[in-house]
C-alpha cells in the first residue's frame, strides 16, 4: 500500500501551491445582476413556485430570496438575458460538474446536517446535491427530493439495501414507521457508514435499543464491538434480522466441545432438541447481548 500512499501524498503536495479557485466562465465574469423580475419574465413558473418553497422566503435572511433571488444561485444574469442560447451565459446546474453544483448549495447549506458533506462518501462518488434534490421540480412532500419518498430516492442506487426491506426480518421501513434517514444522514457524518447518531455503529443501534448498550457485568465481545456482526439492519431471511440462522451463526465462533460443537441435523430436529428448534441457542442463552447477573458468565442468567 506504500505506493498508493506515496501517490496520494504527491497529489496533495501538488495541491498546496494552487491558491486560486477555478475561474468562472469569461461571460459570467463580465455579467451583471439583472434582478429576479427579469428572470421571471421568461421563467414564470419557476419564479412563482420558488415562493412556495423555503428558498423563496425573504423573511429568512439566509435564503436566496433575501439575497439576489434567482441570481443568488444561478449567478449574474445579464449575459444570459443578452443571449439565452449561449450555454455558459449562466449557471445551469444540470450541465455543471457535480462538485461545482454542491459548492453552490454549500454556500448557504453549511450548517446542521450538511456540515460533513465535503469528503463524505457521496461527495467522493461524485454525487451532488442535485442528484437527489430538485429546487424547482421536487416530487416529495418534504426536503425537495426528486423522488416521492426518501426510500425511492435512495433506491436509485442502493437497490440491494432497499430490496432487503421486503424480507421477512426487517425494520418497520416498509410500514412507514422509519425511513433510511432514521439511521443515515446522506449528507455525511462523523460516524461510519453515514450513520446519523453517535460515533460508532453500536451507538446508532442503541440510540433506539438502549437496553442493549450496557456496559454489562458480563459483556459479549462481538456485541460490544458491532451489532452488525450478527444482524443485518436492512433486512434478512432470518428471525431478528440475523445474518444466519441459529445455531449456525453461533457456531461460527463457538465450537469448543460438547453442545456448541455438535451437528444439529435432521436427527436433532426429529428429537426436537432445544438447541435447534424455536429460538435455538437463545432458548437458554437469553442474555446474548450481555448479562448483569453475577451468575451470568455464560449469558444464561
Amino acid at each position: 500500500m506504500t505506493p498508493l500512499l506515496s501517490l496520494w501524498g504527491f497529489l496533495m503536495l501538488l495541491a498546496v501551491p494552487a491558491q486560486s479557485p477555478p475561474a468562472p466562465a469569461a461571460s459570467a465574469q463580465a455579467a451583471t445582476y439583472v434582478g429576479q423580475d427579469t428572470c421571471a419574465g421568461c421563467h414564470d413558473t419557476e419564479g412563482t413556485n420558488i415562493h412556495q418553497s423555503a428558498h423563496g422566503k425573504a423573511q429568512n435572511p439566509r435564503t436566496p430570496e433575501a439575497g439576489r433571488g434567482c441570481e443568488s444561485c444561478h449567478g449574474p444574469g445579464s449575459a444570459h438575458v443578452d443571449d439565452p442560447s449561449k450555454p455558459d451565459s449562466i449557471k445551469r446546474f444540470p450541465t455543471m460538474n457535480p462538485r461545482d453544483v454542491s459548492d453552490t448549495c454549500l454556500a448557504c447549506h453549511s450548517r446542521g446536517n450538511h456540515t460533513q458533506w465535503r469528503g463524505s462518501m457521496h461527495d467522493a462518488r461524485n454525487l451532488s446535491c442535485a442528484t437527489c434534490h430538485s429546487v424547482h421540480n421536487p416530487k416529495s412532500e418534504k426536503s425537495q427530493l426528486k423522488a416521492a419518498t426518501i426510500v425511492d430516492t435512495c433506491k436509485s442506487c442502493h437497490t440491494v439495501e432497499v430490496a432487503k426491506q421486503q424480507r421477512v426480518g426487517h425494520m418497520p421501513v416498509r410500514e412507514g414507521k422509519m425511513t433510511c434517514t432514521s439511521c443515515h444522514n446522506p449528507h455525511g457524518t462523523t460516524n461510519v457508514r453515514m450513520l446519523r447518531t453517535g460515533n460508532w455503529v453500536n451507538e446508532t443501534c442503541t440510540g433506539c435499543h438502549a437496553e442493549k448498550r450496557g456496559p454489562f457485568l458480563w459483556d459479549h465481545a462481538p456485541v460490544r464491538e458491532a451489532c452488525n456482526t450478527c444482524h443485518d439492519p436492512h433486512g434478512s431471511n432470518n428471525d431478528r434480522m440475523l445474518v444466519a440462522k441459529l445455531p449456525v451463526l453461533c457456531q461460527g465462533c463457538h465450537i469448543g466441545t460438547r453442545h456448541p460443537s455438535t451437528i444439529y441435523d435432521g436427527n436433532q430436529l426429529a428429537s426436537k432438541s432445544n438447541r435447534l428448534i424455536g429460538r435455538s441457542c437463545v432458548n437458554c442463552h437469553s442474555q446474548i447481548h450481555g448479562s448483569n447477573s453475577p451468575a451470568g458468565n455464560t449469558l444464561l442468567r
Partner: protein, 718 residues
Amino acid sequence: MRTMRLILLTMLSLLVAAAAASAQQNTPPAEPDQNTGLSSLAGGGVDFGFRGTFFSDGSDEARYQRYRDLRNGVFAEAFRWGKQDDQQYWDVHATHVGYRDHQYAANFNKFGKMKASFEYNQIPLFFSQDTRTTYTTTSAGVLSLDGYPAQIQGGAATSAIYDNVATAFDLQLKRSITDFRFLYSVTPQLDISGSFKNTQKTGEQPWAGTFGFSDAVELAVPVDTRTTDVGVAAEWNAQRGYLRIGYDGSFFKNNISTLVWDNPLRSTDAPSGGAGPAHGRMAIWPNSDLNSGSVSGLFKLPSNSTVTAYVSLGSLSQDDALIPFTINTAIASPPLARPTADASARITATAFTYNVRPTSQLWLNARFRSYDFDNHTQPFVVPTTVTYDTSLSTINETSSPFAFSRKTLDLDASYTLATATALRAAYSLETVDETFRTFSSTTQNTARFSIDTTRVQNLTLRAVYEYSKRTGSGLDEQSLDDIGEQVSLRQFDISDFTQNRFSLIAVERLGSNLSVNFTTFVGDDKRPNTGFGLLTHDNSGVSFGLDYIPDDAVSVGASYQYETYSALQKSRQANPGVQFDDPTRDWMTDSGDHTHTLQASADLMKLWPKTDVRVAYDFVRGQSTYIYELVPNTTLPPVSQLPAVNNKRNRISADARYMVTPHLGAGLVYWFEKYDVDDFAFNPTTLNTVSQPSFMSLQYAFRPYTANTIWGRVTYMW
C-alpha cells in the same frame, strides 16, 4: 484470478465507454415540469371510512400486522392541515388515529427565526396471537405457575399437564416515541437548538430461562422501559466556517430490572447438585446513562480547501445493584465481589477532514477518524458461581470488560475526466486495538477504485472495485485454550481475511419518458489463516428495472433483483479428551441464501377524469440452506440434512379514488397479501405443544397467512 481479470476488464471497458460517451455529451437537459410538489404545504385533508381485514383459516394475523394495526373498524388517516405565508409556516399531521400504530406530528417555522417540531409515533411489534403459556404474572417481573410444579414434583402429574392448562395470549410490544425539537436563530450567524425525546417500551417479548440442558423454559419477559434523550447545541456560522458546541444525554430506565420465574418441575429448592430450585432469577437490562459533549468546526482555507474537526467526549455508566448469585434458598449464595455493577466506559471520538479542490478537475480528501471505547469496569472476580440456580460451581472466572480503540485513515483522490465523469482512487487504513480478544489488534488495508459518470448520453454509470486485507497481530491462542476452544479457531469478526468486491449501477434514459437500470455486485471473502470457524463467504446479485413516465398522469415502474450468499464454516464435534484432537470428527456447514425480489407499480393519476388509480405488486422469495459435510474418513455418524428454510410473500395493492367535487372524493383500497413460510425451527407442527421434550415452549411459531384488507374511504380536502 479469473474473477479478478473479469473485474479489471469490466472496469477498463467502463472507462473506455465513459470516455467515449463523455466526448459526445452536452445534451441539453430536459426542461423541468410544472409540479413543485409543494401544494401540501397549504390547506389540508383527511381520509376516513371503514376498514376490514379478512384472514384465511390458520393465518398468522400477528405477522401480517407485525409493525402495524389493521384491525377492523372505522379509521381516520392522513389528516394534514397546514398554512403558510411569507412570515411563517405550520402544519399538523395525524395518521392511523386511535390505532396501535398511530402517529401525530406538528411543525412550525417562523422563517429565519425559529423552527419547532413535535412528533408522537407509536410502533407496535406484534410477535404472535397464537402463543400460549401457563405462566401468570403475579407482580412486576415475577412469573408463576399456579401449583403445577408441586403436582409434578409430587408425582401427581407430568409436565404434559402444561399443554392442557396453557392459555393463549397476544405476545406484543409497543414503542411510544415522543419527540420535540426546536431551533432558534439568535442572529443570522448563531443558532441554538434543542431536542427532547422520550421512548417508552412496554409489553412482552420472547425470552428464556433455563434450569439445565433438558429444562429450558421459554418465557414472555415483561418489558417496561423508558429512554429519555436530550440534546442542546449552539452553532455559529460565518463566511469562513462554523463552530458547533453540543451536549447529548441519554438516560435508560428499566422499571422491571429482575425476572423471577417458577421452575415447571419443582416447587421446593434442592441443595447444590440436587434436582434444582423452585425458581430462577436473572437481572435484565440495567439502567444506564450516556452523556457526551462535542465540539465541531469547519474552516475554509485558500485554494478551495476546507478543514473540519470533530471531538466528542462521552461517558457511559451503569451502576445497578447486583442480585445474589441465586434465588435458591437451599444454596448459600457466594459473596459478591462488589454490591453494584460499577460499570462505566469513557468514549472518545474524533474526526478530522481535509478536503481540497486545487483545480476544478482534481478533488482530494484526507480523513482521520478515531473511536475509543475505554471500558473502566473493574473485572468481576467469581471464584464460585451458581449455575442454573441449581449447583455451586467453582469456576475461578473473571469478567472481561471489553474495550477497543479504532483508528481509520481514508485518503481519496478523484479526477474529473469530463463534466460529469470522475475517476476515484482511495486507500483506507484501519487499526483496531482490542482487549480480551484473540488478537490484540487488527489492521485492515483497503484500496478502492471507482468511476462515476452521470448524464453522459443519458447514461448514469457507477462502478467501484474494492480490495481489502485484514491481518491480526498479538495472537493469543492460549486464551482460546483457556475457554476450551480449538486454538486454530478464528472468530469471524476479527479473523484475517482478504476481500474483493465489485458493484456496478447503470441507468440509461431512453428518451424523456423511459429509463432502464441495471445493477450487479459480486464479492468474495477468504479467511486463509482460519483453522476452525468461518472460512469463506461470498455474495453476488443482479437487478434490473425500468421506469416509464410518459406524462404527469402515468407512472409505471418495475424492478427485479436476485441476491445469493454462501458461507463455509468448519467445526469439530467433540467431547473433552481424545475427540478434541481427532480430525476425523471435523465437519463443515455450507450455508446458502438465495432471494428473489420483484416489485412493480403503476400510478395513473387523472388518466380518467377526476380519478386516481394506483396498483402495485411485490414479491419476495427467500431460501436458506444449511448443508452439513463430513470429512472423507469421518468417524461421525451419518448426517441427516436439515430441510431448507423458505419464505415467500406476495402482495397486491390497489387504490382508486374518484373526486366527486374538488374537495370531496370517494375511494376503495384493496390489499392482498399472502405469506408462505417453512422454517424447520419455528414450524408449528414441531412446536405443537407447550411441553416439548426438553423445554417449555411459548409455541412462538412462524405460520403462513393470507390476508385481504379492504378500505372504504372518503377523502375531504380543504
